[in-house]
Structures are given as structure tokens and as C-alpha cells.
């Protein structure tokens, strides 16, 4: 479904051809596909509707910049509006007299307890002294879970068992923080449905008692259409100051983030990207925007690519990568490029499916290792480089000798190459990448 968005857009771009001004038809044709992509990304239906209306208004009659096709121009506007909707990530408000209190709220299983530990770890590395508070007295072993995490990262956890009501636990924790000269208190609350009246009242009461500087809604990136109602309800009851999107390390498009942001107006502050306590990132709208649009981070990639390496080379590499004839020469020149531009690794990792490849050709490869690989490939004949299949035992011995390496090492290189080649073939079937190559090509011209 998603993979075909870029295909569809590409087809539309082609049909639209080159004209100076975006017409109604141009825009509507492109927006139909964008609509499906946003829906499949779980952006709420009504949010999509409003969003597209805004884009449409901006796009119709807009002048198309010389370097872009009309289709690209529409996508650019979509992207910009998406960025606007997502907003800039917000910082935590931790000024003012200590201890500052952060409350985490959300549905069951969204990742609150894990996120509490992550926040604590981050704040400590910012020079703060956090206290974690186990205020979930309902879920079996919720307290043990936070205590275990606290131990893992060596951060104190305040708990009073599961008999004390959570608002009281929270209040006692503040006292404890003051006594211990701890300056941030992070309260882990139980998961609750926004329609559970008793539980919502409880969370209101906790808030009333501890007067938190931050009330953060922890929400699963996989959340569907209901994200709007969930975020809206929590916001109305407890006044959110920010959102944290979890489980972003999967393949969820994360459209729920747009929905929640649109309905609450509060900033997305962090992304949680794994189960380990350090898998936590400050939110940047551009990555998420491209992801929601279903184009990997193609847009970011194009921008970065422009800054970081010669466009011609990039276009050539992209074309080459997608052609079936990826050979040892390309492998070598790719390694050279990646060596030369460490950040390219990050760059490639932005493309879906590319992570595996970059692991194969790693920039961590030492200079010495690289020299050896270079030596081996240089010792091959042109024919051998183009068609490594012909490398028999005697050819291999010759190459090893010529390059001052071993047959074993050569075999290792060859299997690495075959793996890269296999991935290239897979990637060649990835329409996002094909589009990228098209775009790079277009810029080159």
C-alpha cells in the first residue's frame, strides 16, 4: 500500500509534465494519493480532511519553481504543511524552584514506565537529580518494574507499595525529593482509558496535589484513528504540556502524532525508539513528516544529499545501485564514498531497507581494513571485477598474493559483496528508492 505512494505520485508527476503554475487538476490529482497515504499512516480522517483543504488552498495557482515539476511542487507544499502541523519539538519546562514535577499519563501499555526511566536517564545526563515515583498501584508488578529499571540505571525510585492511593504517593514523593535534594520528580502513573471516569478523576487529583510543571501524554506510535479522542480527553481533563511518541523503532507510520498534535496543540517533545533506557530522542518534525508521508526520509535525503555530496555522483550512484549490474567496482567506489563521508551512513539509513546495507559497508571499517579491500579489488582483472563468479581457486590465490592478503580474507570480501548485491537487488524493487534516483537525476539535468 504505502510503498506504492511514491509510485503513484511519480506517475502523476509524469502525467503533469512541466507547466508554470499549479492548476486545480494538478493539485487534486496529487492530493488524492496523498490522502490515501495519510489515512494509511493512521492520521485521523478529519485531520486529513482539514489538512488537505489547507494544502489545496496554498497549492492552487502557486507558481512552480523552475527546478521542480508540478508534482514535486505539490509534494513540497504537503511536506511543508505537514511540518507546520507537527510543529517544532518543545523543550521540557524545568525552570523554577525545585523539585520540578513531571507526570506521565496515557493508555495501558503505551510505554509510560519505560519512558519514565528514559526521561530520568536523560535528565541526569543533563546534570539533574531525578527521582522516579511508582504511582501505579494497579498493574501487577508495576512497582517492581519501575524499581528494576531504576536499579538498572542507578536512579532512586520512590514507592509505598500498592495500598497507598496514588495521589498520596505522589505527594509523599515530593517531600522525599526535597529531603534528598533531588530536583526533578518523575511520576509513573497507571495506564487508563480516557473514558474511565474514576481513573481520570484519580489522575486529576494527582495533578492537583503535585502541581506538575509537565504533564506528558505517552502514546504508542501504532495508535489508530482514536488518537484524537484519546489525546483530546486527556488534554481536557489534565491539561497536557507535551506528547511523547513511543515504539517509533518499528514500522508504524506514526500518523497518530499528527492527529494528537492537531487536536491538543501541545508539542511533541520526545520519541522513544526502543526498549533500552537510552533509546530516546528529542523530536524533530522533518523525519516524522517524511515518514508519515510514506516516503522514508526521501525528502530529507535529497536535502542532505545536496549539501553533502556531489549531485552528479549521487545520481550516478543511485542509478547504478538500482541497475542490476552492481559489481565489485561499484562496491569499491561505494565504500570509498561512504568512507569519505561518514554521515552518508546516516543518510542511507534514512531510506527504508537501507539500514541493512549500511551495516555491510560500515564507515567504522578501519583505514587498514579498507586499504586491504582496495588492494584485493585492485588486484583483480577488469573481467573479474565485473563478474566475480569466475573467481576460481587459482585466480583467488593470485589475487591474494598480488594484494598481500589471504584467500580467506578474499572469500570474506566476496561474501560481503554478494550480500550487498542481494540487498541492492531488493532495493531495486523499492519504489521509494527508484523515485529518489529519479529526483536526483532530475536535479542533475
Amino acid at each position: 500500500m504505502f510503498d506504492s505512494l511514491s509510485d503513484k505520485l511519480q506517475a502523476i508527476f509524469d502525467r503533469l509534465g512541466k507547466r508554470g503554475i499549479l492548476t486545480e487538476q494538478d493539485v487534486d490529482a496529487a492530493l488524492r494519493e496523498v490522502r490515501v497515504a495519510l489515512l494509511e499512516a493512521d492520521v485521523n480522517f478529519r485531520v486529513v480532511k482539514e489538512f488537505l483543504a489547507r494544502v489545496r488552498e496554498r497549492a492552487i495557482g502557486a507558481e512552480v519553481h523552475k527546478s521542480l515539476t508540478p508534482g514535486q511542487a505539490v509534494v513540497k507544499i504537503v511536506h511543508e504543511e505537514l511540518l507546520k502541523t507537527l510543529g517544532e519539538g518543545g523543550k521540557l519546562d524545568l525552570g523554577g524552584p525545585p523539585p520540578r514535577v513531571i507526570m506521565l499519563v496515557g493508555l495501558q501499555g503505551s510505554g509510560k514506565t519505560t519512558t519514565a526511566a528514559k526521561l530520568a536517564l536523560r535528565l541526569r545526563s543533563d546534570g539533574r537529580k531525578p527521582l522516579l515515583v511508582a504511582a501505579d498501584t494497579y498493574r501487577p508488578a508495576a512497582i517492581a518494574q519501575l524499581e528494576t529499571l531504576g536499579k538498572q540505571i542507578n536512579i532512586p525510585v520512590f514507592s509505598e507499595g500498592d495500598k497507598t492511593p496514588p495521589p498520596q504517593i505522589a505527594q509523599h514523593a515530593i517531600q522525599k525529593a526535597i529531603q534528598g535534594a533531588l530536583d526533578v520528580v518523575i511520576i509513573d502513573t497507571a495506564g487508563r482509558l480516557q473514558i474511565d471516569e474514576a481513573m481520570m478523576r484519580e489522575v486529576e487529583e494527582i495533578k492537583a496535589r503535585v502541581k506538575p510543571a509537565e504533564v506528558l501524554l505517552v502514546a504508542d506510535a501504532m495508535t489508530g484513528q482514536e488518537a484524537v479522542n484519546i489525546a483530546d480527553a486527556f488534554n481536557k481533563r489534565v491539561g497536557l504540556t507535551g506528547l511523547i511518541l513511543t515504539k517509533v523503532d518499528g514500522d508504524a507510520r506514526g500518523g497518530a502524532a499528527i492527529s494528537m498534535r492537531a487536536v491538543t496543540g501541545v508539542p511533541i517533545k520526545f520519541l522513544s525508539t526502543g526498549e533500552k533506557p537510552d533509546a530516546f530522542e528529542v523530536f524533530h518534525p522533518d523525519r516524522l513528516a517524511s515518514r508519515i508521508l510514506g516516503m522514508g526520509d526521501v525528502l530529507t535525503l535529497i536535502e542532505k544529499a545536496q549539501q553533502q555530496f556531489d549531485e552528479q555522483e549521487a545520481a550516478k550512484a543511485a542509478e547504478k545501485m538500482l541497475s542490476a549490474s552492481f559489481d565489485l567496482e561499484d562496491f569499491l567506489s561505494q565504500m570509498r564514498q561512504i568512507k569519505r563521508m561518514g554521515p552518508l551512513n546516516d543518510l542511507l539509513a534514512l531510506i527504508p531497507g537501507m539500514k541493512d546495507l549500511t551495516r555491510q559497508i560500515s564507515p567504522e571499517m578501519t583505514e587498514r581494513q579498507f586499504k586491504r579491500v582496495e588492494a584485493m579489488i585492485s588486484s583483480m582483472t577488469r573481467e573479474e571485477r565485473r563478474n566475480p563468479g569466475i573467481l576460481n581457486a587459482s585466480r583467488k590465490r593470485r589475487i591474494a598474493k598480488g594484494s598481500g592478503t589471504s584467500v580467506q580474507e578474499l572469500n570474506q570480501l566476496l561474501s560481503q559483496f554478494r550480500e550487498a548485491q542481494r540487498m541492492m537487488k531488493q532495493l531495486a524493487n523499492n519504489p521509494r528508492l527508484r523515485m529518489m534516483s529519479g529526483w536526483m537525476g532530475a536535479r542533475r539535468r
Binding site: 500500500m1 501487577p140 504508542d220 501504532m222 482514536e226 484524537v228 479522542n229 518499528g250 492537531a262
Partner: protein, 306 residues
């Protein structure tokens, strides 16, 4: 953004309730179809499945000469039900009584409700006279073992566990031995939450499955994927990923006590042919029901809570 909020207030929690109201109205118009589309999409049915459903419905409206909107309702229910019952009614899972030990493997992404559902399932089967044992094969997540043990105590079901961070395959193996030794006839295996995109974690899961397979004939006899009903279209990827790795035989749809309608179940059953087996409707041990397609479809047409 007040207009959005107003719009939400209007539709909140009564998506399919609205279908009902809508379909109670006069003649079918373009607006009827637009509203229908909106309503399906907002229940997480997904763009692709919604499109298919509407196409089928339009065809039927044509063929059967349906002109009144209310007649569409029955047709829609019918189509929805058909999606849930891939290839007609799926054979209900029947436990082979000659089997000494039945093994159920429970899998799913993080936080979907596996551990809780296992406690519920255990209790359910126990009340049907089965002798149940639980295996705590989530050795990774903080206090996951304690969590299952507490549930086991509450339900009066023994739990076999290893040490935190020990090999889940080894725990599975121990649990099977224990199940035989104690003459249990049902072993339910809890596993760590994992995203289907994580290669290594999926390999680890396959290892656990292999241990079960090697130790008991044809095990695991059921592999149940736990899906959070609040999930949107990613649930389809989950179903695909887990099926490719360990061969999912059924789905437990949890947290249906919330406002989400779990519409992605239609795509999972319809497109992937994986039957929904159970639904979770709360955090208490009895909050589980066998899935009933008719009731599920009907419930979509009722007003939600709140």
C-alpha cells in the same frame, strides 16, 4: 483548532452508531456513500479495506436494486461479517483430546496485552476443566516474570520461570518438562513483546517455537497474536510479520473496553485470513470472551461508551 474539536465532539464514540442513524435515513445519495466511507475509515478499517467494502456494497446495491439507505445497513453488516469469516466460517479450534499436552504460544508487539491475556486464557481454560501451566518466557522486560507470577497466584495456576535475562528457549524447555511431570494438559507460553521488524528478536521467538516443536508433537498447537484494538493499520504489518516468522493461527484483540472499534481486524481476517479468536475487554482476569463475528459486527453499530 476549534473546528476540528467540534467535529470530533460530534462523532466521538458513536461512529457506527452514526452509521445506524445515517442508514435509517431516506434514499441513498452520494452523501450516503461519503459518510459511510468516513465512518469506516474512522473505525480503523483502513483505506484499502474500506474501498473494497464500498465497492462490494455498491455492486450489491446495484444488483439487488437497493435504493433505501436502511437496506444498505444489512448489506454492510453482511459484507463486514464475510470479511471476518475468511473462506466461510473458520473451523472453530478444537482441542484434540487424545493429545497429552496442548501448547499455546502467545506473541505480539510490546505492551499489546500478552501477559494479561495469558492469565485470562489460563483461567478460562481452567474453568473448562483443563489442567493449565504457564511459562514465563519473557525474561527480558523488567519484572515481566513477577507480573506473570502474580497473575498465576491470583488464578491459582502454577508458573514456570527462569532467571531474568536467561534464555527464553531454556525456560520453554523446562516448562514442557514440568508440564509432563505434573500431568498438565495445557501449557500457555508468555513471550517478550517485540516489534515484528526486529530481526534478532524474531529469530529468538522462532527458537522458542522450535523448542516447543521439538519437545511436543505438532506444538505449538495454537500460536496466538495479541493485538491492541487501539492500533491502526500497523496491526496488519504485525500480523504479516509474526505470521511469516512463527505462523500465527489466531488473534486476540485486546482493550476493546476502550473507544477504539478494532476495525483493523477486518483487514487481518479478510486479507490475511487469520481468524480472530478472543477479545479482551478489561484488566480483570475474567475480561475475555471468545470472538463472535456476529456480535463483533453488531457491536460496531451500537453507540460507544462515554
Amino acid at each position: 483548532m476549534p473546528s476540528l474539536r467540534d467535529a470530533l465532539a460530534r462523532t466521538r464514540n458513536s461512529l457506527f452508531g452514526k452509521v445506524q442513524a445515517l442508514l435509517g435515513q431516506a434514499d441513498i445519495t452520494d452523501a450516503t456513500w461519503d459518510e459511510l466511507e468516513a465512518l469506516l475509515l474512522q473505525a480503523d478499517v483502513g483505506a484499502a479495506t474500506t474501498e473494497k467494502l464500498l465497492a462490494a456494497l455498491k455492486q450489491r446495491a446495484n444488483n439487488e436494486g437497493i435504493v433505501r439507505a436502511e437496506k444498505l445497513r444489512d448489506a454492510l453488516k453482511d459484507e463486514l461479517r464475510k470479511l471476518l469469516l475468511p473462506g466461510g466460517a473458520p473451523a472453530p479450534y478444537v482441542y484434540d483430546k487424545t493429545r497429552l499436552l496442548e501448547v499455546i504460544l502467545v506473541v505480539g508487539v510490546n505492551g499489546s496485552g500478552k501477559t494479561t491475556s495469558i492469565a485470562k486464557l489460563g483461567k478460562l481454560y481452567q474453568s473448562k476443566g483443563r489442567k493449565v501451566l504457564l511459562a514465563a518466557c519473557d525474561t527480558f522486560r523488567a519484572a515481566a516474570i513477577d507480573q506473570l507470577q502474580i497473575w498465576g497466584e491470583r488464578a491459582g495456576i502454577p508458573v514456570i520461570a527462569g532467571l531474568p535475562n536467561s534464555d527464553p528457549g531454556a525456560v520453554a524447555f523446562d516448562a514442557i518438562q514440568a508440564a509432563f511431570a505434573r500431568k498438565c494438559d495445557l501449557l500457555i507460553v508468555d513471550t517478550a513483546g517485540r516489534l515484528h521488524t526486529k530481526h534478532n528478536l524474531m529469530k529468538e521467538l522462532e527458537k522458542v517455537r522450535n523448542v516447543l516443536r521439538r519437545s511436543v508433537h505438532e506444538a505449538p498447537h495454537q500460536t496466538l497474536l495479541v493485538i491492541d484494538a487501539a492500533n491502526g493499520q500497523n496491526a496488519i504489518n504485525q500480523a504479516r510479520g509474526f505470521t511469516a516468522s512463527v505462523g500465527v493461527t489466531g488473534v486476540i484483540l485486546t482493550k476493546l473496553d476502550g473507544t477504539p472499534k478494532g476495525g483493523v481486524a477486518f483487514a487481518i481476517a479478510g486479507e490475511l485470513g487469520i481468524p480472530i479468536r478472543y477479545i479482551g475487554t478489561g484488566e480483570k482476569i475474567d475480561d475475555i470472551q471468545e470472538f463472535d463475528a456476529q456480535a463483533f459486527v453488531d457491536s460496531l453499530f451500537e453507540d460507544g461508551q462515554g
